[in-house]
């Protein structure tokens, strides 16, 4: 979230009182508690105040997709990426808050120099340099200008000012003069653009709104950028930049046309994958370690394939079909590799690669919550964890926050030291749930998590733990069920499930949590999602074509400064 406004950015009163469950006594859905009964007619979008302009760092996946789209999918990226900042459950929100550390900048610089050297390499220059210089050992100003004018707009997601073009041409010239070679001049001009804040950070500009005096709206290129990163996880393509320049995004029809075009493009799938990778917190999956003595079948191939398995299921269910979001929690359709088969104990005929498959009926396995990517991820290195699993279900899929454990608990009380023979997790956790200090929250986590106890710390089925039979019964908001499949059905049926997705999708799109002023808009999105049969592409389209998604509310404090800037912008002078 950009931070033009103390009032908007600071946690609202609603967030403080509702967002955090101080005592775990009440569950609430911030901003979503008042969803109206679905209307017969299709819902209409209410007016919405919007938020401040965004200043968002590209995520790792956005950086990679952007580089691939501009320079080709085989363009190597040599730098490393630091962990993204997770805020409000999403890296996408963290991009509105994270800075760029010295380490990060070093790494961006290494990537930039690597890419730039590739672009002008003899292997690629015919394809990627739009002109040929008169001679390689002298400076060709016209060709340098053409090069800067070619890459500048697609890297900065807007036309460059005359001053900016001159600056990067000068950079090319200075480098050529020092190093002797014209292509090396281009190389360093490009490297400079690739570490510019205009590339690494989406810094939105606003212009005075001609329809509402004293108010501002996004400049068309900022609008194109919001749309493009939301629907393709990447930079605006040439057609979208053209439409922005022609003012087409300021009409409902023009905006809808572009949104539909992007949703129909192959890159839309990439955006859906990126959203779910973020929501499922796969960014830390590669740090997952399992004890090899206890779980010999688990290795780094399993860890990679487990993520891919779930993402493939999501894409097939939500984009290819496109089906009902809630079915993700009940589908037996899945994809397997040999490595995964070893953990699932399922035969996989295909030796290398992926096989479309199904979990056997009545195996207790249904839906993505019974995938390794969930079961192993929310476990300890050497055993399962009902608490971690229960907490993840609440936080990731139901948008309910579980507070940290109280700091003053003496855990030796909940663990009866005279009776260390507690064979099953249920018995061990019973202690937590009977201690008043712990019970409030563990009552929310454990009854859900314990229903998955038939799956061990990597996700393999087991009927017993330490020789004692496992009781996998549980409840969700009063509904009783059994086992992982029962849990999947309960999540499928919970009204919180689709609302949570709407909430997270809007957070991801806007880089911030919805404000109390946007309550009606979020309600509208919930109604739309339900009316459209919980189809995710339709939800994303509803956001992408809504006016609220682009609405700007400027804090009065800095309006003067921005007006000043906006005047310059509209005159074509950004610097």
């Amino acid at each position: 979230m950009s931070n033009m406004s103390g009032q908007i950015r600071k946690p609202s009163a609603a967030r403080n009182t509702l967002g955090r469950l101080a005592a775990c006594a009440v569950l609430s859905m911030p901003l979503m508690g008042s969803v109206a009964v679905a209307q017969e007619t299709s819902p209409t979008e209410p007016q919405s105040a919007g938020g401040p302009p965004e200043v968002r760092r590209l995520t790792e996946s956005q950086y990679r997709a952007t580089v691939a789209d501009i320079f080709g999918p085989d363009m190597p990226i040599v730098g490393r990426f630091e962990h993204g900042l997770r805020a409000e459950g999403l890296l996408a929100v963290g991009t509105s808050q994270a800075g760029i550390s010295t380490f990060s900048f070093e790494q961006y610089d290494a990537s930039a120099r690597g890419i730039a050297a590739e672009v002008v390499s003899e292997k690629r220059r015919d394809q990627l340099v739009p002109c040929k210089p008169h001679a390689e050992n002298s400076f060709d100003a016209a060709c340098a200008k053409q090069f800067v004018e070619h890459y500048g707009p697609i890297l900065f997601r807007r036309p460059l000012t005359g001053e900016e073009i001159k600056r990067y041409v000068r950079t090319a010239q200075a480098a050529q003069q020092r190093l002797g070679n014209f292509y090396q001049g281009l190389q360093f001009a490009l490297a400079g653009m690739l570490v510019s804040p205009d590339f690494l950070v989406r810094i939105e500009q606003v212009v005075p709104d001609p329809k509402h005096k004293g108010q501002f709206r996004l400049d068309p290129y900022a609008k194109a950028t919001r749309l493009s990163y939301f629907l393709t996880n990447s930079t605006p393509d040439a057609e979208l930049l053209r439409a922005a320049g022609a003012g087409e995004l300021d009409t409902d029809a023009g905006l809808a046309h572009q949104a539909d075009r992007l949703i129909a493009s192959p890159h839309f799938e990439r955006a859906v994958r990126a959203f779910f990778e973020d929501m499922l917190e796969f960014d830390t999956f590669n740090e997952l370690a399992k004890d090899p003595v206890i779980y010999p079948a688990f290795n780094s191939t399993v860890a990679l394939d487990a993520q891919e398995q779930t993402l493939r299921t999501i894409v097939a269910d939500l984009v290819t079909q496109p089906g009902d979001y809630r079915d993700l929690f009940t589908t037996r359709d899945t994809y397997l590799t040999r490595a995964l088969g070893a953990v699932y104990r399922l035969p996989v005929a295909t030796r290398n690669g992926w096989e479309k498959s199904q979990y056997p009926a009545n195996s207790g396995r249904e839906g993505i919550l019974t995938n390794i990517s969930f079961l192993a991820f929310y476990s300890h290195p050497g055993r399962s964890s009902s608490t971690l699993r229960g907490k993840a279900i609440r936080q990731v899929f139901l948008c309910q926050q579980i507070p940290d454990p109280p700091n003053n608990v003496d855990f030796s009380v909940v663990q009866d030291s005279s009776n260390t023979k507690m064979p099953t997790a249920r018995i061990r956790l019973e202690a937590h749930r009977t201690s008043p200090a712990c019970a409030g929250c563990h009552r929310l986590m454990d009854p859900l998590g314990l229903t998955m106890e038939n799956f061990d710390g990597v996700g393999t089925f087991r009927a017993q733990e330490n020789g004692a039979p496992i009781d996998a019964s549980g409840t969700l908001d009063g509904h009783e069920f059994q086992g992982g499949d029962g849990l999947g059905q309960a999540i499928h049926d919970s009204p919180q499930t689709p609302r949570c997705l709407v909430d997270k999708m809007y957070r991801s799109a806007s880089g911030r949590k919805a404000t109390p002023d946007e309550r009606a808009y979020v309600d509208y999105l919930n109604q739309t999602f339900k009316a459209d049969g919980y189809r995710v592409p339709d939800l994303m389209r509803a956001i992408a074509v809504s006016r609220s998604f682009y609405a700007i509310s400027m804090p009065s404090v800095s309006a003067n400064t921005l007006q000043h800037a906006a005047v310059h912008t509209s005159n074509g002078d950004r610097s």
Binding site: M4, T102, A191, D291, Q415, S417, T420, G457, T561, H564
Partner: protein
């Protein structure tokens, strides 16, 4: 602290054909209080480090029974006997919460490092390593280097909320970052500045020209974030400026070999190996002035470390292991706590193994080791264990145990800043605010 005037230095370099320009370069960056090397007359810089281990200690195995210089080392500190004169033990210093919710394993750690307890990871002030680094690091190739040795990328070095300085977790990547591209062997026979480096500098200068324009168009919080970006550009420009200068010779330095491939995970045997390798690399980096600030996270404050074949991690043990009635504490938790001090000895050994001036590198360092809590199972932030090691180039006195008697832990942090030459009279907020220097520590 003198600030390097990069552009004036550069003018000299570029104007003088780039080779053999003799500028009193290093001196510009040396802290004025550093000791002189007998051989070269250069002053030795004082370096600062933090070393964090998670999940606290077992008091009866760690807190010496008497204070002063003649204390007996308790069982978990026995391993540090060879360094007894190099270390000062601080027990009984508290993080004062003033009503702030105690987020287990976070509030204590960050309260101690920033002087302000916070209920989450949103620090309200820079951590002490950043404060000290800002004073001593300008002109150094890396403003600081962070490592985490238990296989996870975690860091408690913050400039501001949301901007942790990320840790290296792989010894090989750490090696490449320090001794790979951009490293100049200080003892190489010849020096030729790379023209590409000059070009890279002019590129960064061009990019930085956007600063004013961008700052005008964003709000206050985003301005802070963009300021961090431009600070990072400046750091890289400074690194490049250094590369255009012949590095000052470093006595007794040879470039280390690349470390072997290791398993980077949370199994404690692997952690100890990874930590030892990284400690050696950091010591070398400090020796040849690649950085003046290092931050080591042995294992996280919610320690994920485990013994091979065990279904329980260190942190889980702190919650679930019954107290052994015969011992009076959690036996396995105690074992891990003991191992943290074994690792700390490895770290001090690595610094002490490098001769420098008339002593060792450790003598010219100030290393602040601490945990996140005292007794982990209660998440207590009272009496968080702390150890100060090294002589800071003669400015610090060690070799004693001091009992804090519930004084704020910020007293130690304040004194460390003063020892590093910072003009600071008080540190911390509310009950953590203190102006009381620990005079025992200062020479």
């Amino acid at each position: 602290m003198k600030k390097l005037n990069r552009r004036s230095v550069l003018k000299g370099v570029l104007g003088g054909a780039g080779i053999g320009v003799a500028l009193p370069f290093l001196d510009m960056f040396l802290n004025n209080n550093g000791r002189a090397l007998a051989a070269t007359g250069q002053r030795i810089p004082v370096r600062f480090g933090t070393w964090v281990w998670g999940c606290g200690f077992v008091p009866e195995r760690w807190v010496p029974s008497s204070t002063g210089a003649d204390y007996a080392l308790p069982p978990d500190l026995e391993v540090l006997a060879p360094h007894k004169k190099d270390i000062a033990i601080f027990s009984g210093y508290d993080v004062k919460l003033d009503g702030v919710a105690n987020k287990p394993h976070i509030t204590g750690c960050l309260g101690l490092r920033t002087g302000i307890p916070v209920p989450n990871e949103s620090v309200r002030a820079p951590t002490i390593d950043v404060i000290i680094g800002d004073a001593i690091s300008p002109g150094t190739r890396f403003s600081s280097i962070e490592v985490s040795t238990s296989g996870i990328d975690r860091s408690y070095s913050f400039r501001a909320a949301g901007s942790a300085n990320p840790s290296e977790v792989s010894p090989i990547k750490l090696y490449q970052r320090i001794f790979g591209e951009g490293f100049q062997d200080p003892n190489a026979a010849t020096f030729t500045p790379d023209p590409h480096t000059m070009v890279r500098q002019s590129v960064l200068s061009a990019v930085a020209e956007d600063r004013q324009r961008l700052m005008r168009t964003v709000g206050a919080e985003d301005r802070r974030r963009l300021e961090e970006y431009f600070t990072s550009i400046r750091h890289l420009e400074d690194q490049l400026a250094l590369q255009l200068q012949p590095p000052a010779r470093v006595e007794n330095f040879t470039k280390p070999d690349a470390p072997p491939t290791t398993t980077m995970d949370s199994e404690i045997g692997n952690v100890m190996v990874t930590h030892k390798l990284m400690a050696g690399l950091l010591a070398k980096a400090l020796q040849c002035n690649q950085t003046k600030v290092v931050n080591v996270l042995l294992w996280d404050t919610t320690s994920n470390v485990r013994r091979a074949g065990s279904s329980t991690t260190h942190h889980t043990l702190t919650h679930e292991e019954p107290v052994n009635p015969a011992l009076g504490y959690q036996e396995n938790v105690g074992w891990f706590a003991g191992q943290s001090m074994v690792a700390y000895k490895d770290f001090l050994d690595a610094l002490a193994a490098i001769p420098e001036g008339d002593g060792t590198l450790l003598d010219n360092c100030l290393i602040f080791a601490h945990s996140d809590c005292s007794i982990a199972k209660a998440h207590a932030v009272e009496g968080i264990p702390m150890i100060v090691a090294g002589r800071a180039g003669g400015r610090v006195r060690t070799g004693f145990h001091l009992a804090g008697r519930a004084d704020p832990a910020t007293r130690v942090g304040l004194t460390l800043q003063q020892a590093m030459g910072l003009q600071v009279a008080k540190w911390g907020v509310q009950s953590m605010e203190t102006n009381r220097t620990i005079t025992e520590l200062l020479v």
